[in-house]
C-alpha cells in the first residue's frame, strides 16, 4: 500500500485516496464545435503506460482535494505530487 504525500495534508495511507485516471486531459471549451471523433478522443481514449504516468488522485477520505501524481506504474514509485493547475514536472526529469 502506497504512502501518498497529499499536497494539502502530507503523508497518508493509500486507503484514504481514490485514483482518478490519467491527468492533464482538459475538457474542451467548446464541445459543440468538435466532430464525433474529436469528442470521442476526449471522452474515451486514455493511456495505460508501463512506466512513468501522470495521474489524478483525490484525497477522498481526507481533505477531498484533487491533485496530480507522477507514478511509475512498473514499480509504483511515486515521483512527484503537485496541485491542480500547477505545472507538471518534465517527464525525463522525474
Amino acid at each position: 500500500m502506497f504512502l501518498i504525500n497529499c499536497p494539502f495534508c502530507g503523508e497518508r495511507e493509500q486507503s484514504e485516496f481514490k485514483a482518478g485516471g490519467e491527468a492533464h486531459i482538459i475538457r474542451p471549451k467548446q464541445p459543440t464545435e468538435l466532430s464525433d471523433d474529436e469528442w470521442a478522443e476526449y471522452l474515451f481514449m486514455r493511456k495505460n503506460i508501463k512506466g512513468v504516468q501522470f495521474e489524478r488522485w483525490n484525497h477522498v477520505h481526507g481533505c477531498r482535494k484533487w491533485f496530480n501524481m507522477v507514478r511509475d506504474t512498473s514499480n509504483d514509485q511515486i515521483k512527484a505530487v503537485y496541485k491542480m493547475g500547477e505545472k507538471p514536472p518534465v517527464k525525463k526529469n522525474v
Binding site: F2, R27, T32, R56, D76
Partner: protein, 1003 residues
C-alpha cells in the same frame, strides 16, 4: 516402542507439566513446550495423513511452517474447528483435539488409497484431460472428485473467538529472531531506532538456540549459550519491542507489512475466554530487515514420501529442542555437511545411526571425521534409489552414483531403518522479499536464488540472503546492517567464530534410479502429489513457463505453496529443457506466507460491524411500527409496514391506495442533500444539469437530470433555490456520495474559476413527505402559521416555516403525482415531527408507506428511478425525457454526447410502458422482451425494469426498455417465461393522470 523416544534433557520442555491431548480419537500425553508434531513423534506416531491425489500414507516431515504433510483438523466438530493446520506449529495444551484430514474411514485404512494403485492412469493434467469430455458428464465427475478431494472441513457455525487489527509504526522492523535478526535488532535499537522484532516461533533464537554442537562456536562459546546472553541483553532495550508467535504474512510495497500475532492458540480452551485470539498487525516500517532464515531442501528420489522420512534438520530439532527421537534406527541421506550436525546430535544422545548416505565422493570436514570416528558407516558417492514400508519406512536400497550423477551403477544394497533424515542443502526463505517486489538472482555455486534488487528501503541478512556458514552469517550481518542503518557503532567488538562444517554440496535435482522414469514416484510436491515424472510430462506436452507447469501439475499449489519442492521443480525443468535456472521464470510467492484464518482478516468487522448501516432519525418509529426494511446503499429504509399478517403485496396495495385516496407519509430522509452556495451557483447548476437554471426564482424548486460526460443519465432530483446564491440539491439515496464527488471534481479541476461551495447536509435534515388529497389539511394542522393556498404556495415552490419554534423548510413537490409536501427539519426533531404528522393525520387515515409503495406510486406516473429503470446506457432521449434537455444552453455535462452517431440511433433501447393482455398478470422485473418467438435465435429487444399491480388502476403496469420502443406504441410484444409466454402491449409510460389533475386539484 515409544518409551525410548523421549529424552528428558531439553530446557524447552517442561517435564513437570504433563499435557493430555486427543489425536484421531485416542488420548496421548506430551509436555508443555511440545508441538503437536513433537508430541506425536514422542508417541511413535509418524503417519498423520493421506496425500491429496493418491491417498498415500504421509508422516510428519518437517518441524516448522514449511510442513506439507502433517496438516490436521484442529478442534473436532466444535465452533473453533479449523482445517489445514500444521501439526508442526501447534503448541499443545491440555484438552487439545486434532484429527487427520483427507482420509476415510481412517488414516490407517483409507479407501482413497486405491488411487495409488490407479496412479499409472492418474498422470499430470488427468482431471483436465479426462473430465472435459463429454461436457454433459461433468456434473457426475464433479460429484466424485469433490467427494474424494478436499483438505479438511470448514466450520459450520460462527467463530466464537475475538480478533483485532492494530497499526504499528516503527523505524526498523526485523523479521526473524535467529542469529542475524537478534544482532540486527540490537544494532538498530541501541543506535536509537524504534525497532520491532518479530518471530513466528514461541521462542527467540531460531535454530541456533538449540545448537549445542562443539563444532560451531561464537567467541569460544557454544552457539546457544552465546545467543542466550544476546537475547537476555536485547530484552532489556527500551526502544525494542519483541513479538513472538508473530508471523509476517505479507510484505507489500512501501514497507507495508501484515503480520499475525497469535495470542491464545497455545492456551487451554477454558483460558481463552474474553481474550483476543489473534491480532492482525498492519506494520508501516521505515526500514525492514528480513532475517527469515532458510528452509532445508528434501531430496527427490523414488518413494521419498513414506512416513518416517523427515528433513535431517527436523530430526535434529526434535532431539535438541523437544528431546524427542524420530526413530531408533536412523539413516541420514545428504548431499552436504548439515546432516552431520544431526548425526552428532543423535550420537550425543546415544541414538542409533545405521548409516549415512552421502551423494558426495569427497567429504572433507571436521564434523564428518568426527562422525566417522563414532564408527558410523558413510556411503560416499551413493544415493537412495528406493524405500520400503507402507505405513512407516522400514528399509531403503542404495546404489552408487555415476561420475556425472545422472545414473546409478553397481549393486543394490538394502539397509534397514525406521527413520530416514534427508538433506538437500538449504533454500533461502526469500518469500517475503519477492512479495515486496524484490528481484532474485541465481547463484550457480550452490544453486540458490538470493536477493538481488531491493524495491524499497530493506535488506536481507543471514541465510535468507544466502549466507550459510556461521562466519559469513555473522560478519556479513554486521557489515551490511552497519551500512544499511548508516551507523558506526555496531555494538559488537570482535566476533570470533569456529565452524566444523564445509559448504560443499553435490546438487542433483532429481536423483537417478535403476528403474525407468515411468515406474518411479519421486515426489516434488508432497501435499499435491506432484512427481518429477509429472513435471517431465508437462514439459513433453509443451509447457514451458514455470507458472504453466505449476498449474498443470499442481506443483506448489497447495496450502504450503511448495516451500519444500519448488526449487526442485525449477531444477528439473531447467535440466530437462536444457535451460538456465530462472530462465522459465521463478515462481511467484504470494501472500500470505502461511495461511490466515478469516477471523484474523476481518478482525472486529463482524456481526453488526460487518457492514455499517445508516439509520434515519425516524428509524426507531419504523421499527416500533412493524416496518420491514430494505437496504439502499448503506441505508436501512422502511420497505413496507405489514398489518395483521399482511404479506408484502397486501401491505403495498393497502398503502398505495391510502396514499391516493386520502394521505400517505414517507420517510425521505435518505435522499442526498447538497448545500450549494456562491455567486456562480446558478451557472454551476446550468453546467451540471441538462435543463436551464438561471431563471429559477428564489423560493422555487425544479427537477433536474444529471448526465455523465458520455450522455448517459447519472442521477436526478429536485433542487430548490433558497436564496440568490444559495441552493439545496437533492440526489438519489444511493447516488449521494458519488454526485458530491463528481461535482467537487468538476469544480476543482475543470472550473476552478467558479465561486461555488458544496457541502453535504444529508445527515443534517430529516425529510418527511406527506402526500395525497388530504395532505394539505394535515400539514396545515402541523404548521398552522403557513399559508398553504395555491397562490402563496404553488406546486414546485418552497417556504421557510417553524414548527414549535424550530425552523424548517417546506417544499411542495411530488414524486407520487399527488398533492404533497416535504418537510425538512433538523435531524434530531425528525421523529417528533413525524409523530405530529401521524397525529394530525389520524382522522384522514394517514398511512405510512415504504419504498415499495413509493416505487409503485411513481411507476403509475411513469417517473423513473435512476438505477432501476436506467443503467449507464440510457440517455434522456432514450427515456423519452427530451423535455428536460435544454436546446438553448451552449454546454452542460454530457451535451455533446447526445448527438454522437451512436446516441442518435433510432433503434436504441428506449423506455416504454407495458400493459399485459391479462390485467391480473404481473410481469417479473428483469424478464426479457421479444417480438418473435419463432425466430431462432430469438432476438432480445429489451427487458422489464419496473413492474407492479396498481390498486388504483386495478391492473398490472410495467416499465421496460425496448429497442426502438419509442415508435412501437400499441404494438404487441411477448415476454417468454419458463412455462408460458405473456402477451404485452407497448403503452405510454405515464399510466395515471397524465394531465396532472390530481396534482393541481383545488383542495
Amino acid at each position: 516402542m515409544s518409551n525410548n523416544l523421549r529424552f528428558k534433557t531439553s530446557k524447552f520442555i517442561d517435564e513437570t507439566y504433563r499435557v493430555s491431548f486427543k489425536f484421531n480419537n485416542k488420548t496421548y500425553f506430551g509436555f508443555k513446550g511440545d508441538t503437536l508434531a513433537s508430541a506425536l513423534l514422542a508417541n511413535g506416531i509418524h503417519l498423520v495423513g493421506r496425500s491429496f491425489k493418491y491417498h498415500r500414507p504421509r508422516g510428519i516431515m518437517t518441524s516448522g511452517s514449511e510442513e506439507p504433510n502433517a496438516i490436521i483438523q484442529l478442534h473436532d466438530n466444535s465452533s473453533r474447528t479449523e482445517p489445514n493446520v500444521r501439526a508442526t506449529e501447534v503448541e499443545i495444551y491440555e484438552g487439545l483435539v486434532a484429527s487427520s484430514q483427507n482420509c476415510w474411514p481412517s488414516v490407517n485404512f483409507d479407501i482413497g488409497g486405491i488411487n495409488n494403485l490407479l496412479s499409472p492412469i492418474l498422470p499430470a493434467g488427468f482431471y483436465y484431460k479426462t473430465f472435459m469430455w463429454p461436457a454433459s458428464f461433468w456434473e457426475k465427475y464433479e460429484y466424485f472428485i469433490r467427494k474424494s478431494a478436499g483438505l479438511g472441513k470448514s466450520p459450520k457455525v460462527a467463530d466464537p473467538d475475538i480478533y483485532e487489527h492494530k497499526y504499528i509504526h516503527c523505524d526498523v522492523l526485523v523479521i526473524g529472531a535467529g542469529i542475524s535478526g537478534i544482532m540486527a535488532a540490537k544494532m538498530a535499537a541501541k543506535n536509537g531506532f524504534k525497532t520491532l522484532l518479530v518471530d513466528e516461533k514461541s521462542y527467540l533464537g531460531g535454530s541456533s538456540i538449540y545448537d549445542n554442537s562443539e563444532f560451531s562456536k561464537i567467541n569460544n562459546q557454544i552457539t546457544s549459550s552465546w545467543l542466550e546472553k544476546e537475547i537476555n541483553e536485547i530484552s532489556k532495550i527500551e526502544n525494542l519491542e519483541i513479538k513472538t508467535r508473530t508471523s509476517v504474512a505479507a510484505f507489500h510495497g512501501y514497507n507495508f507489512l501484515l503480520a499475525r500475532e497469535n495470542l491464545t492458540d497455545h492456551l487451554p480452551i477454558n483460558q481463552r475466554e474474553n481474550k483476543v485470539r489473534q491480532r492482525l498487525l498492519k506494520i508501516r516500517a521505515k526500514k525492514v530487515i528480513t532475517a527469515t532464515g532458510s528452509i532445508e531442501r528434501p531430496l527427490i528420489f523414488d518413494n521419498n514420501d513414506r512416513p518416517g522420512i523427515l528433513l535431517s534438520s527436523a530430526i535434529k530439532k526434535y532431539i535438541d529442542l523437544y528431546g524427542v527421537a524420530c526413530g531408533e534406527n536412523n539413516i541420514l541421506f545428504t548431499n552436504n555437511d548439515t546432516a552431520y550436525e544431526t548425526a552428532m546430535s543423535l550420537i550425543q544422545r546415544g541414538i542409533k545411526i545405521n548409516a549415512i548416505i552421502d551423494n558426495r565422493e569427497q567429504i572433507d570436514s571436521k564434523i564428518s571425521y568426527e562422525v566417522e570416528k563414532n564408527n558410523i558407516r558413510i556411503y560416499k558417492g551413493y544415493t537412495v534409489v528406493d524405500t520400503y514400508g507402507y505405513r512407516r519406512i522400514n528399509k531403503i536400497s542404495i546404489m552408487k552414483l555415476s561420475k556425472d550423477g545422472q545414473t546409478v551403477i553397481g549393486d543394490k544394497t538394502k539397509l534397514n531403518c525406521d527413520c530416514l533424515g534427508v538433506s538437500g542443502g538449504w533454500t533461502p526463505a526469500v518469500h517475503l522479499f519477492t512479495q515486496s517486489g524484490g528481484k532474485l538472482k541465481f547463484r550457480e555455486e550452490d544453486q540458490v536464488f538470493i536477493p538481488n534488487v531491493y524495491p524499497s528501503d530493506q535488506i536481507s541478512v543471514g541465510s535468507c540472503n544466502g549466507d550459510f556458514g556461521l562466519e559469513e552469517i555473522i560478519s556479513n550481518t554486521l557489515s551490511s546492517i552497519k551500512k544499511f542503518l548508516d551507523i558506526d557503532n555496531s555494538e559488537y567488538k570482535t566476533v570470533e567464530t569456529i565452524s566444523g562444517l564445509n559448504q560443499s554440496k553435490r546438487n542433483i535435482w532429481l536423483l537417478p534410479s535403476d528403474k525407468s522414469m515411468g515406474k518411479t514416484k519421486s515426489f516434488v510436491d508432497y501435499q499435491n502429489d506432484a512427481t518429477a515424472k509429472d513435471i517431465k510430462l508437462a514439459l513433453r506436452e509443451g509447457f514451458r513457463s514455470i507458472e504453466h507447469v505449476k498449474r498443470y501439475t499442481t506443483t506448489g499449489m497447495g496450502t504450503d505453496q511448495g516451500k519444500l519442492g519448488n526449487m526442485h521443480a525449477l531444477g528439473i525443468i531447467s535440466e530437462t529443457a536444457g535451460t538456465k535456472m530462472g530462465e522459465h521464470g521463478t515462481t511467484t510467492f504470494r501472500p500470505p506466507y502461511t495461511p490466515l484464518t478469516f477471523g484474523t482478516i476481518v478482525g472486529r468487522n463482524v456481526g453488526e460491524f460487518f457492514d455499517i448501516f445508516r439509520r434515519t432519525p425516524i428509524h426507531d418509529w419504523h421499527v416500533a411500527n412493524n416496518a420491514e426494511f430494505e437496504n439502499v446503499g448503506q441505508w436501512k429504509r422502511a420497505w413496507y409496514y405489514p398489518k395483521d399478517n399482511e404479506n408484502m403485496h397486501q401491505a403495498v396495495q393497502r398503502e398505495s391506495k391510502a396514499a391516493r385516496d386520502s394521505a400517505g407519509i414517507l420517510d425521505a430522509s435518505t435522499l442526498g442533500k447538497i448545500d450549494i452556495q456562491g455567486t456562480d451557483a446558478s451557472e454551476f447548476l446550468n453546467r451540471v444539469y441538462t435543463n436551464a437554471w438561471s431563471k429559477l426564482a428564489v423560493g422555487k424548486c425544479r427537477y433536474g437530470l444529471m448526465l455523465n460526460e458520455d450522455g448517459m443519465v447519472y442521477d436526478d432530483g429536485v433542487t430548490t433555490r433558497l436564496g440568490e446564491n444559495h441552493y439545496i440539491m437533492t440526489t438519489t439515496t444511493g447516488g449521494a456520495a458519488n454526485v458530491l464527488g463528481k461535482l467537487e471534481d468538476y469544480l476543482q479541476t475543470e472550473w476552478p474559476e467558479l465561486d461555488v461551495y458544496l457541502s453535504s447536509v444529508t445527515d443534517h435534515y430529516a425529510t418527511i413527505s406527506v402526500c395525497g388529497p388530504n395532505s394539505k389539511k394535515i400539514v396545515s394542522k402541523v404548521i398552522p402559521d403557513l399559508d398553504l393556498s395555491d397562490e402563496k404556495f404553488p406546486h414546485m415552490s418552497f417556504k421557510n416555516a417553524k414548527i414549535d419554534n424550530i425552523k424548517c423548510r417546506v417544499m411542495r413537490i411530488s414524486f407520487t403525482g399527488e398533492h404533497s409536501y416535504e418537510i425538512n427539519i433538523q435531524a434530531n426533531f425528525g421523529k417528533s415531527v413525524w409523530e405530529k404528522c401521524m397525529e394530525a393525520g389520524k382522522d384522514f387515515n394517514i398511512t405510512p408507506y415504504g419504498t415499495e409503495t413509493m416505487h409503485l406510486l411513481r411507476a403509475e406516473k411513469g417517473f423513473i428511478i435512476v438505477g432501476q429503470d436506467t443503467d449507464a446506457t440510457l440517455t434522456p432521449i432514450d427515456l423519452q425525457m427530451d423535455w428536460i434537455v435544454s436546446k438553448k444552453k451552449y454546454d452542460f455535462i454530457g451535451k455533446r454526447s447526445l448527438y454522437r452517431s451512436d446516441t442518435i440511433r433510432e433503434d436504441r433501447k428506449q423506455l416504454v410502458g407495458l400493459l399485459t393482455e391479462n390485467p391480473e398478470e404481473v410481469l417479473e422485473e428483469g424478464a426479457q422482451i421479444v417480438a418473435d418467438i419463432k425466430k431462432s435465435p430469438i432476438e432480445m429487444l429489451g427487458h422489464v425494469t419496473s413492474s407492479y399491480y396498481s390498486p388504483n388502476l386495478k391492473k398490472s403496469i410495467a416499465l421496460g426498455v425496448v429497442k426502438g420502443g419509442k415508435n412501437m406504441l400499441g404494438q404487441k410484444l411477448i415476454i417468454p417465461m419458463e412455462n408460458k409466454n405473456i402477451n404485452v402491449t407497448v403503452a405510454d409510460p405515464v399510466f395515471l393522470d397524465k394531465e396532472g389533475e390530481r396534482l393541481n386539484a383545488k383542495l
